[in-house]
Amino acid sequence: MSILACNGGAVLAMRGRGCVAIAADRRFGIQAQTVSTDCQRIFPMGQRLLLGLAGLATDVQSVAQRLKFRLNLYELKEGRQIKPQTFMSMVSNLLYERRFGPYYAEPVIAGLDPVSLEPFICSLDLIGCPMVTQDFVLSGTCSEQMYGMCESLWEPDMEPEHLFETISQAMLNAVDRDAISGMGVVVHVIEKDKITTRTLKARMD
């Protein structure tokens, strides 16, 4: 089995009007066996910045922890919150350092600029190639299913509530067509003054 499909998992981020949303499934499994249903794939990296990682579970944790370390040093040296675009370059750099023995994790970044509050989403591949889009980004074992759902459901300039509904439906229906993702979905909606976190009731098979 492919290394990226060992543990399973999926992450999706969408852009709305003045807000972004990021969602991930909650299954942690080893091949066919489901080990737990409360795996954390989305990590807070700033006041309005979240990083989601899909792929091999051990590398998801390692990358998140090493990145947090670098981010803490940045904030101490600069004395300010990092911009999402700069954070993307930091992630890209960390991943490319391991070009010939990579971390098997594919990140998705969602956040608002700390000053202008402009929404920003991007994803990277496992060796750090960044891709910024204006609509949605995703990674995981059910990427094809998620692309299909997002292409049909996404529309520009969605308000936070509408964005939440859209990303939830896209995620729930995509993971229901993947054997190694699912077991619950957690959704974070980042607006200028708050982050709303909701856990969705999903099929547990």
Partner: protein, 278 residues
């Protein structure tokens, strides 16, 4: 010979060319002299020329199996069946996967063989569907000839012997034949490796270990009533669907009793989640 006769829907002993006054007229050099009854079969479907393949495997076994990992993982599914004094309770999930893609959540994994017998499907869907339908046909013919319903032991033997001829060629079948005959409830596990085993309870498929865990705990209590047995079967499949990535969809519970088989219940796993899983 074997394939041609199967496709013409006749076993050797039902063929009009079968030697008269068997066994006195049995050819001395079996199988070379066995009459060839493949006229009328298109060229492409005939067996290759030369002495017909021996029907049974040589005693030293086939070397066709490649030297791979010892255990062959059964394809994604969970099916189970167990005997109680009231009959045989059968429960199956309904998921079909292609790799990690869920191809369907509504596959029918129970195949009726006769009014009093069911077969479950695990392994290759086409293999199970085809061979069990063939066995169903054989059972009906036998019922008409003998004026008596066919026994579970006989039906399972028919299936086992049919697939054994293709051992090593890549058939994938892991099925349970569940029925009620004159000896009471009958349950046999038959697979494409040639195993045919009678037993009181079986679980087959990638989720079978999880199902066994729940099943073994409640088997004694399940013998009390048909309702308790069906509840246990439903719970075992739901638990297996939760833990095993390749099982899921719906749980279908069937029961085979002295009056024949019937579907007891059909629930989506999402409905049963709150009841059985935290």
């Amino acid at each position: 010979m074997a394939l041609a006769s199967v496709l013409r829907a006749e076993l050797a002993e039902f063929s009009p060319n079968f030697p008269k006054n068997f066994p006195k007229n049995f050819p001395k050099n079996f199988p070379e002299d066995f009459p060839d009854d493949s006229e009328g079969i298109p060229e492409i479907l005939r067996d290759p020329p030369g002495p017909p393949r021996v029907l049974a495997a040589p005693p030293w076994g086939f070397e066709a199996e490649p030297e791979g990992p010892g255990l062959q993982i059964l394809h994604g599914t969970t099916t189970l069946a167990f005997k109680t004094p009231h009959g045989v309770t059968v429960a199956v999930d309904s998921r079909a996967t292609a790799g990690s893609y869920i191809a369907s959540q509504s596959v029918r994994k129970v195949l009726p063989i006769s009014g009093r017998m069911l077969g479950t499907m695990a392994g290759g869907a086409a293999d199970c569907a085809f061979w069990q339908r063939l066995v169903a046909r054989q059972c009906r013919v036998q019922e008409l000839r003998n004026k008596e319903p066919v026994s579970v032991a006989a039906a399972s033997k028919l299936l086992a012997n049919l697939v054994y001829q293709y051992k090593g060629l890549g058939l994938s079948l892991g099925t349970m034949l569940c029925g009620w005959d004159k000896r009471g409830p009958g349950l046999y596990y038959v697979d494409s490796e040639g195993q045919r085993v009678a037993g009181a309870a079986f679980a087959v498929g990638s989720g079978s270990s999880y199902a066994y865990g729940v099943l073994d705990r409640g088997l004694a209590a399940a013998a009390r009533s048909e309702e308790a047995a069906c509840e246990l079967a439903r719970r075992a499949i739901a638990q297996a669907a939760h833990r095993d990535a390749y099982s899921g969809g719906c749980v279908r519970v069937m029961h085979v009793g002295p009056d024949g088989w019937r579907e007891v219940s059909h629930h989506d796993i999402a409905e049963l989640q709150d009841k059985y899983l935290e």
